[in-house]
Structure formats: C-alpha cells, structure tokens
C-alpha cells in the first residue's frame, strides 16, 4: 500500500514536471489565465454586490459571510483547476480522437492517469493569493473563528473539491454513451453554478437535495459553514459519507464507460 502511494506520488510529480515545462513555454497564457480568473471572480463579486443593494443578508449568511464564501468558492475553483480542471476538460477530446487508446495501454491505473495527467500549474499562483486573502478576511471577520473551525474547514474543503471532481468527471464520461459530448463542459458549468451561491438561498426539498443526491452545497457552502459557524462534526461526517459515495459512483461510471468504449471503438 505504501509502495503504491509512493509510486503514484512519483508519477504525479512527473506529470507536474511535464506540465510546468509546457506552461513555461507559453508565458502569455500564464498571464492570460490569471486575467480570466480575475474577471471571473470580479463578475461573481459584482453579481452579489448588486444583490446586496437590495438585501442585507441571504438567510444566515451576512454580507461579510458571503464575501468569505465567495473567496472559498474561488479557492475551490483554482485548486480544482490545479489538479483536475484540464483533465476532465480533455476527456471528450481523448475519446473522440481515440487518444484514450494509448493511455489505456500504460501499465498504470487508467483512472489515475486520465484524472491527473495535466496539471494547471498557473493555478498555484492564484491559489496562494487567494489563501492569503482568505486569512486576511477571516481575521477581519466580526465573530471569532477558532482553531477547530480551521481544521474542519480544511477537511471539508478538500472533500468539496473531490465532490466537484466527481461531478465534472461523471459528466465528461457521458461521451462514452454519446460518442461526442462536446457540450459536457457546458452542462457541468451550468450544474456547478448551484455551488457558487450560498446554500441559504435555496429552500425546501431542493435544498435537501443539494446536501445529498446533488451535493452542490457541499462544494463551497459547507466548508464556509465549517469556518464561519459553530463546528458541526455530524455535518462533516455526512459530507465524508457523500464524498465516498460520489467517488465510488465515479469509478463505476468510468468502468461502465470503458466497457462501452472497448466494444464500440474501431
């Protein structure tokens, strides 16, 4: 087991090295991507500032809480992008062009390979900036944030990213059934929009769904709750449960898709 972890860690470092070497080739892209991120964050911020010109709070999220929630959303987005973003994005093309073939013939777990092959190294910069901003914002936050809040936030945040990955990946896997699913990225971005609003704006049965079968509230809202509100271990454990279920489901979908791919490709 330790050997396995060690082996895949080394592999990931090799991926990282390849990706860094590539990204250094295109320095303009580096800056361009940071520019896009800024615009994207700015547009989300603008949206909520218009909303807050009509209200003082969204449910139990005050204005300050929503700002911290937004920073967490950005951070989720960049860390996801760092590890997975370019990979889930590539799945469709790899299947359509048949590049998946070569990947499947490597003596490496194919799911690991396809999920981690491309590292978006520039996201490291935006992540660092965002972490600094997050610390600053929590420092200025009105009520106190304890060490337990930070610890639970950390775990909750990581699980949020895994859930995001599962959703993106499973949607990307639809290409195995649709032959060409270039709209997968679009579909995913529409669904992920639900994670970019604090969970307090949703109500009723749909809100319950967002915490369970369609776990978008667990991506950034729940980590924000862990950080800003009273630490709730039950909530964290249920997030763990749902993360495990989502990961298992992603593996099942991938394997089913591969079966389809094996029998259909020519």
């Amino acid at each position: 087991m330790r050997l396995m972890v060690h082996r895949y860690l080394i592999l990931w470092l090799a991926f990282f090295r390849n990706s860094l070497s590539r990204d250094m080739e295109f320095k303009m892209n580096f800056i361009g991507n940071l520019f896009i991120d800024t615009i994207f964050y700015g547009s989300l911020y603008f949206f909520f500032s218009v909303i807050f010109s009509y209200v003082d709070s969204l449910g139990d999220f005050s204005r300050d809480a929503v700002i911290i929630f937004l920073i967490i959303t950005y951070l989720t987005d960049t860390v996801f992008l760092f590890f997975f973003g370019s990979n889930t994005f590539q799945v469709n093309r790899m299947v359509v062009r048949g590049d998946l073939d070569l990947l499947l013939l490597k003596p490496v777990n194919a799911l690991f390979f396809i999920s981690f092959r491309y590292v978006s190294t520039y996201a490291l910069i935006s992540s660092s900036i965002l972490i600094a901003i997050l610390f600053r914002a929590t420092y200025l936050y009105s009520s106190s944030i304890g060490i337990y809040n930070y610890i639970m936030f950390f775990f909750s945040f990581l699980m949020g990213i895994l859930i995001l990955y599962c959703v993106e990946f499973m949607i990307a896997c639809l290409v195995f059934w649709y032959k060409n699913f270039s709209v997968g990225g679009w579909l995913a971005s529409e669904l992920i929009k639900y994670s970019r609003r604090p969970d307090s704006i949703y109500s009723g049965i749909f809100r319950k769904a967002l915490f369970t079968i369609f776990p978008m509230a667990l991506v950034s809202s729940l980590p924000a709750r862990m950080l800003l509100f009273k630490p709730d271990i039950i909530l964290l454990l249920s997030q763990l449960l749902i993360t495990v279920v989502a990961l298992s489901l992603a593996i099942v979908v991938w394997n089913k898709g591969l079966l389809k791919y094996d029998s259909a490709s020519s």
Binding site: R7, I10, L11, A14, F15, R17, N18, S21, R22, E25, F26, R97, G98, D99, D101, L102, L104, L105, K106, P107, V108, D262, S263, A264, S265, S266
Partner: protein, 329 residues
C-alpha cells in the same frame, strides 16, 4: 507458442444515416444500426522473435486486429492469448511487455521536448535509472536523433517525431511490439532508417514484431512472414516470397538483337506473346512462365547483343493482387 489467435471474430454496431438534410432529420429522432463484421474467423500462431506483416487494403481489418492483440478491443468471438495473457484484461504485467506505435497517434506531448516525455515513461514503466540510460542511449544512437532530444516535439519533422515515438515506446524493452503504419507519410530516408532499426532490434532482443503498412516495401524488407486480410477474412498466412511467387508477377525482358538480324521470324511470334519492338530492341512485360517460353523461342533463332530482366516494383504486384485476390490463391 507466444501468440495464439483462434477463431477470432469482431463485429461492430454501426450507425447508419442517409445523406442530406432529410437523412439528418430522420436520424435525429430515430437511429438505425447495422452490424459490421470487421474480422471473420481469424486463426494464427506466432512464435517469439518473429516479424509478421499484416497486409490488406483500407478497411480490411488490419488495425482492428492490432487493437485486439494489444487489448483495446474485446473479441466478439474466439480468443487471443499472448504469452499466457488475455490482452483485453489489460493486466499491468502484460502491458509492461507490450508496446504499440500508431502512425497517426502520438503519445509525446506536443509542446515539450521528447526527453521530458521519455522521463515520464520511465516512471510509468518503473524503469531503473541505469537500464533507462542504457536503453535511451542505444536507441537514440541507432535512430540518430541525439541532437533533437531537447527540441519541442512540435518543431520536429515528421520523421524525427516518428523516431521519437518509437523510442518512447521501446524504453521499457517490450518483448512484443505492434507497429501500425509506422512509416506513413515519411520520406524515403527515414523509412529505410526505421526498417533497418526494426530488423536490428528484432535480432538483438528477440522481440516479436507485428507490423501493418501501406507500403509493401516495408513489409518486404522487414517481414518474412505475412498475413493477408481481405474484407475481414484471412486469405493468406505464409512467407512473403511464396505469396509473390503465387501471384506470379510480371517481369520485364529487354532483348537487343545483334545488327543486321532478319526480324521476319519475330512476326510469327506476334499474337502468341505481347511485346514491342523499337529499333532493334524487343521489350516484353509478361508473367514469369510466359516470359521464359518467349526467351527460349528467341534464343533458338537469335543470339542477343545484350539482354536483361527487370522485376516490377512490388507495389504494382500487390495492387493487381488486391484487385482480385481469389484469382491468385
């Protein structure tokens, strides 16, 4: 037996659509599928260290066969066993001994130097440092690309890129190598370099090679044994030279008469054989047996000033073979 393929059949479900806007509309709501047999009842056995060529026209099933052998496709029927493994289970132990190079697909990353991609393969195949350096040095020298190692792949020529692809695939010293159109689109020098390399590598490491190519010359120079596919069926399995003999290709005879020869007798041969006479030179392009008959008739009456035989390019031979293979076998 290293490779054993028995009664292998592969069929695909194909989606059918009639042409035009109306057809598109129809298929939007109601799709029709048909079954297409890519391979029918193939059986072959291959020993370790053999180089086997697969010949066939577009759509004959060459790539499908390669994919079945490497484990990218499930057989619909029958079985493929390679070195005791079932390829499509894609066991890591099996994959560590196999390499595939596909002319149209690349595993090298476009925007970084090939050496960086090689390093990744080192980790993927868990190759030890010493063995990795040794293999890499050997391959780089054999294919003569040492000075290109640190150039971004997109800046390489097609031939250089293919050589790099081959190196990347052989770093782990596989015992089975599948080459699917390895020389497609390459210039003549690169082509012959790659052929030479395959023969060398095969004899040194006793690796088994399975090769498909559009260029019959590739097959002729690299493979002794060939498998010929036609519409998914196996129509020939044997030595390449025997196949050529069976096709009985035409050869060309150039026969120059000595000066002042009376050519009246020649007219009596006209009609029996096909030939042309220009000045005092006779040229004929006929199958081997007829050519021999003509020659003996000529030698009965004349003594030549000079005389020569030429083989036609093997490409032309194969072209006429594929037009109606059943005539020859």
């Amino acid at each position: 037996m290293y490779i054993k393929i028995s009664n292998l059949t592969k069929s695909f479900k194909m989606f059918k659509r009639s042409a035009g806007l109306k057809g598109a509309f129809k298929s939007f709501f109601n799709r029709q599928y048909t079954n297409f047999h890519a391979l029918k009842n193939i059986s072959i056995e291959i020993n370790k260290g053999e180089i086997v060529g697969i010949l066939g026209e577009n759509g004959a099933g060459k790539t499908t066969l390669i994919k079945l052998m490497v484990g990218l496709l499930h057989p619909t029927n029958g079985e493929v066993i390679i070195d005791g493994y079932n390829p499509w289970k894609r066991k890591h132990d099996y994959l560590k001994n196999v390499a595939i190079v596909m002319g149209q697909k690349n595993q090298l990353w476009w925007d970084i130097p090939a050496s960086e991609s090689f390093l990744l393969n080192k980790h993927i195949y868990q190759i030890e440092d010493s063995k990795y350096n040794e293999t890499l040095n050997e391959l780089v020298d054999l294919l003569d690309v040492r000075d290109k190692l640190d150039v971004q792949v997109r800046r390489l020529s097609l031939g250089e890129r293919m050589k790099m692809e081959i190196i990347a695939s052989l770093l782990h010293r596989p015992s089975l190598v599948l080459l699917d159109e390895p020389t497609l689109g390459l210039d003549v020098i690169s082509q012959s370099k790659i052929r030479e390399f395959v023969r060398y590598y095969n004899s040194k490491y006793n690796a088994t090679f399975i090769i498909t190519s559009h260029y019959t010359k590739d097959i002729q120079e690299m493979c002794q044994r060939v498998l010929v596919l036609n519409n998914g069926s196996q129509i020939y399995d044997g030595l390449f030279n025997d196949l050529i003999k069976a096709i009985n290709p035409e050869r060309r005879l150039v026969f120059e008469f000595s000066e002042g020869t009376d050519l009246k007798y020649i007219d009596s041969l006209d009609g029996k054989f096909e030939f042309q006479i220009h000045d005092s030179i006779l040229t004929a392009q006929l199958p081997e047996s007829q050519l021999r008959e003509l020659l003996s008739k000529l030698l009965e009456k004349f003594s030549p000033q000079s005389m020569s035989f030429e083989d036609l390019p093997v490409e032309e031979t194969m072209r006429s073979f594929f037009q109606s293979p059943e005539d020859y076998l």
